[in-house]
């Protein structure tokens, strides 16, 4: 357990709906990820430099600062630029996918989330071409 935790990848989960956050927390932790949570966009922007996650799961419709604006801000920070951001949203992708990708999201997953698909995306983004994961800070 300890060894696993030391090598665990950190994911910043930005989600305002408590139930979704609770479900994903359990699901992600079961898959060996370490989790940092933010309930709105501003919190995500504040937390990201401190937590320096390996990946960010970003809801789009959020209080304070929405997911698109938050992603744009994160992209402006040179230290955070390489962190992949995956948009998770119940908003119509026909209307928001383009906007999300244009500010730097690498994927757009529609809610209700297909967990198999999310797992594929996480595996692909966090273990590129089967190479060893880089040591955790």
């Amino acid at each position: 357990m300890n060894t696993k935790n030391e090598n665990a990848r950190t994911i910043l989960l930005v989600e305002d709906y408590q139930e979704t956050r609770a479900m994903l927390r359990i699901w992600l932790e079961r898959r060996g990820y370490r989790l940092v949570e933010a309930a709105d966009g501003q919190e995500a922007v504040d937390l990201a430099p401190l937590a320096h996650p390996d990946l960010i799961l970003m809801d789009l419709r959020l209080p304070e600062l929405n997911g698109i604006a938050a992603t744009r801000r994160l992209r402006q920070d040179a230290a955070l630029q390489d962190i992949p951001v995956v948009a998770l949203s119940a908003l119509d992708p026909a209307m928001f996918r383009e906007a999300a990708l244009s500010v730097g999201c690498v994927e757009y997953l529609t809610k209700p989330i297909d967990l198999d698909k999310l797992e594929d995306v996480l595996t692909r983004l966090l273990n590129p071409t089967g190479s060893n994961p880089p040591p955790v800070h």
Partner: protein
């Protein structure tokens, strides 16, 4: 006015009388000087003057005066036969030409008399100046002839136009000089031309003989034609000016009409654009609302389906499983709440919402609503205090629906109040109504949005600032439901960041002091109850959120 008229008539008759005297005197004098026989040539001149004179009258356009050739004959007779003959001819000629434009005896007599007077004055002036008129005639083309002709024209002009102008001024009750300059100034042409023509003819008669008068006819004709051309030119110019004026008027009317049409079209365009903008706005709001409905219905499905999947695969331990089931239930209930709001609004819009009316203690409604929002308020560490300034208030209504009203307003306050904020609920009587006011120290409402706060499909937050929290129909429903109960709702806010107060007014059915519900809890006239929540349990508290992060960092 009567005096003026009398004065005018008296003047006319005075001139006529003087004229008569002058004519009588001249006739007498002429007969005395020429004996019984009348010069045949004078008769010819008289016939020509009387017969031709009135035919050769040119009226000056837009003036009452006229230009005639008769003066030529009068002056000629004066030069050839002396003042008496001229006076008689003048009177006769004026009499005949007046007949052409007047039927009134006094006018005809007056014109005739005025002419006689003027001619008499002229001949007297000439006699006094030059001794005798015959002298002038025989002096040849000397300077005295020129002076005599000028004097003749001047005196005749001043005397005749003066006499007539006085008459006209008295009749019209206008200043003399104004009348004279307006109507008679231009007739001077007649006299000057007449005098010069008469001078030339008289000289011709002297040298060639009387029948040279016939030779001079072209001169008279030229004078007449000059008058006529002059008049025609003036008339043509006047007609052109009038035409131009008419055109200008038509043009300005046309321009005004065009401007009016253009303005109307602009207004129409503006109205059309406004209508289109409103329609587009309404359409956009509906589209946004539909997108919101879709978002709100999809959102709870993520935890529901996620938990179910983990439960099915046996991934969860016992404790987590029961937490998962609770989470599923909350998500499903949230979805049910969204659907209920949608159904309610749809029923209200179609007029299909029925109320289950009964007698209700208002306090019961408020207390039940407070219980519903309590968990949400606890989650944000919001302190809610409730003050009753009255007791035993009964209203007529649907208990469930009234609860919905108060609860919607309360949950709106919770939603827009910051963590650790404060909400005050007050219930009091205002006339025949009971007022429930909900004040918060939250984000407040911008002045421009305040009028739309209860509108359907409208939410104040923009795309940069969206929170999960239903369809934004709560206040709309609260308004509809309150109005269905004969009440009203209104919102107040001093602006963004200034908090807001929502007030619900409902008609009081009656007040029952022995309210069993109240008597159990009420202590004194005022009752305060607060929910105080320990901060540490608030899952959305920002401080709480930072705990796992700090752990991870260390």
């Amino acid at each position: 006015m009567m005096n003026k008229e009398k004065l005018s008539r008296a003047y006319l008759w005075l001139v006529v009388s003087i004229g008569s005297v002058i004519c009588s005197y001249s006739l007498n004098s002429y007969i005395m000087s020429s004996g019984k026989s009348v010069d045949f040539r004078l008769l010819v001149l008289t016939v020509i003057a009387v017969g031709l004179g009135p035919c050769l009258i040119v009226r000056i356009p837009r003036l009452t005066s006229q230009i005639t050739v008769s003066d030529t004959f009068i002056f000629l007779v004066m030069l050839l036969y002396g003042g008496d003959a001229a006076v008689l001819l003048a009177a006769l000629e004026a009499f005949c030409s007046s007949l052409r434009f007047s039927r009134k005896l006094i006018t005809i007599l007056f014109n005739s008399a005025a002419m006689a007077c003027a001619t008499f004055l002229t001949s007297t002036t000439l006699n006094l100046t030059f001794g005798s008129i015959a002298e002038i005639r025989h002096s040849g083309y000397s300077s005295s002839l020129i002076i005599a002709l000028c004097l003749m024209a001047l005196v005749q002009y001043i005397a005749n136009s003066g006499l007539v102008a006085i008459g006209a001024a008295l009749k019209l009750d206008r200043p003399l000089m104004q009348t004279w300059s307006k109507h008679y100034l231009w007739t001077s042409v007649t006299y000057v031309a007449g005098a010069s023509a008469a001078g030339i003819i008289a000289q011709l008669v002297n040298t060639i003989g009387f029948y040279s008068v016939i030779v001079t006819t072209p001169i008279i004709a030229v004078i007449f034609l000059t008058y006529r051309t002059y008049r025609e030119n003036i008339e043509a110019a006047a007609a052109q000016a009038q035409q131009a004026e008419k055109h200008a008027e038509e043009l300005s009317l046309y321009i005004a009409e065009r401007q009016r049409v253009e303005k109307e079209r602009d207004q129409l365009l503006v109205r059309e654009q406004q209508a289109r903008a409103e329609a587009e706005d309404a359409n956009r709001m509906k589209d946004e609302f539909l997108a919101l409905v879709s978002h709100e219905l999809r959102t709870p499905l993520t935890p529901i389906l996620g938990w179910i999947r983990m439960l099915r695969r046996g991934e969860l331990d016992r404790a987590t499983s029961s937490g998962a089931l609770e989470s599923i239930e909350r998500a499903a209930k949230y979805q049910e709440f969204i659907i209920n709001d949608l159904l309610d609004i749809s029923r209200i819009v179609r007029g299909k919402l029925n109320l289950d009316m009964g007698e209700i203690y208002l306090r019961q409604v408020v207390e039940a609503s407070l219980e519903i929002v309590r968990p949400a308020a606890e989650a944000k560490s919001i302190l809610i205090s409730c003050t009753y300034e009255c007791r035993g208030v009964l209203v007529s209504g649907d208990q469930g629906r009234l609860k919905q009203v108060v609860w919607n307003i309360l949950s709106n306050a919770v939603k827009f109040t910051e963590i650790g904020g404060r909400i005050e609920v007050a219930v009091k009587i205002a006339g025949s109504y009971v007022e429930i006011s909900v004040s918060d120290n939250g984000i407040g409402i911008a002045a421009d949005f305040l009028p739309h706060v209860f509108d359907r499909f409208r939410q104040a937050h923009n795309s940069e600032n969206q929170a999960l929290g239903g369809l934004g129909l709560g206040l709309t429903l609260a308004r509809y439901l309150t109005e269905m109960h004969g009440g009203s709702v209104h919102a107040e806010s001093r602006g963004l960041g200034e908090g807001a107060t929502f007030t619900v007014r409902l008609p009081i059915l009656r007040v029952q002091p022995d309210d069993p519900y109240v008597s159990r809890e009420l202590h004194g006239a005022s009752y305060e109850r607060t929910f105080e929540v320990p901060k540490i349990y608030a899952p959305q508290d920002k401080e709480f959120q930072k705990i796992p992060l700090l752990r991870n960092e260390t």
